[in-house]
Amino acid sequence: MTPISKKLSWVAAVGLLASGCAETPKELVDARAAYKRVSTGPAAKTNPVQVADAKRSLDQAEEACFSCWDTSAGRDKAYVALRKAEYADALSRNAMAGKDLEAGDVQLASLQKEYLSGVNARVAAENAAAAAALGTLGKTQAQLDADRAAAAAAQARAQAALDKIRGKLTQDERGTVITLPGALLFPTGKGNLTAGGKRNLDPLMEFLRTDPRKILIEGFTDSTGKAAFNQKLSQDRADTVMNDMIKYGNIPADKISAQGMGSQNPIGDNKTAEGRQLNRRVEIILLKPTN
């Protein structure tokens, strides 16, 4: 072997020894890459303690890997360094996600407040509308009840009054009709009230005064005699009843009117005395309200 060959052999031997250690373990390559990523990323600012810990572990791994006599120790330390770098990275990502979550919570709370405010306003409006409707309904119901009670009372009073004077109470399309026999009120062939007739009207006065409906007094005769006479007599009798009610019953004049009907609309047979007696009558009509 020449001196040059000897020298080359030594270089080769040293190179071989060096290259034996230069076979960098995969764990160390991964650890270096992970540390590079984490030390240049957000974790360097958000988690500097963990990044520094990863660096220490990486340095230990580097040192162990170049101690050729124990490569497994180097690989293990590189593995730990890799995990520590990943740990720092995960903590950093979690911190950033946590900040996003906090911001999201704030935005969500604001939107929930806005939404609830809208819901509350709608509910309040609906409650107010419901309360108003209930109030109206209650008032209407109360008014109906009162009207019904008043009508019943008026009917009872009218019936009581009619019972005293033997009158008749009916309903027709015009309204409530009180029919009074003419013989109870007037002398034969005359338009003025008898004393008994005045007394017979008295029980009706209070009832008619308190009833809100307008009053029409219609006078009727039988068909005996001339029509003109009967017409005038029926008008006189209707007027007499009306005036008596205005004067003694304090019924407002604008609430009451009178109409002579002559022998129209007979309710009995004019050929019989009994029928003619029925036809001689006065009808007090409590008119239905007109809209």
Binding site: D76, A90, D100, L111, G118
Partner: protein, 116 residues
């Protein structure tokens, strides 16, 4: 005397410094695994994978320690603790991101309802 010193040194080297694995290291690994188990729970994915690795490494380390491979056991415990800590961090990250997604969904729903 010189021979005795050499014998002691050789013995120490051959047993890999055969002192026991420090209890603090064992406790540290155990604590990291327990904490990660709480965080990861029934999650799957990388967090669960790392936690499984940590448990395997811990068990292996205990076997090595029993076999007197103290140095190897210590290094494996270090790996177990590093894996467990990473599992915990990944689990926490997954939970935070899941919460964030839920909040984002709620925000979107409310925006739609408010006509935004």
């Amino acid at each position: 005397m010189r021979h005795l010193s050499k014998l002691i040194l050789a013995c120490a080297l051959s047993t890999g410094c055969a002192t026991a694995v420090p209890q603090a290291q064992i406790d540290g690994a155990q604590k990291a695994i327990a904490s990660a188990s709480d965080t990861v729970g029934s999650m799957g994915g990388p967090a669960a994978d790392r936690l499984a690795d940590a448990k395997k490494e811990y068990d292996a380390a205990m076997e090595m320690a029993k076999a007197g491979k103290t140095d190897e056991a210590s290094r494996t415990l270090a790996k177990a603790e590093a894996d467990a800590k990473l599992a915990g961090a990944l689990g926490a990250e997954a939970k935070t991101k899941s919460d964030l997604q839920a909040v984002t969904d709620q925000i979107q729903t409310l925006k739609t309802q408010l006509g935004k």
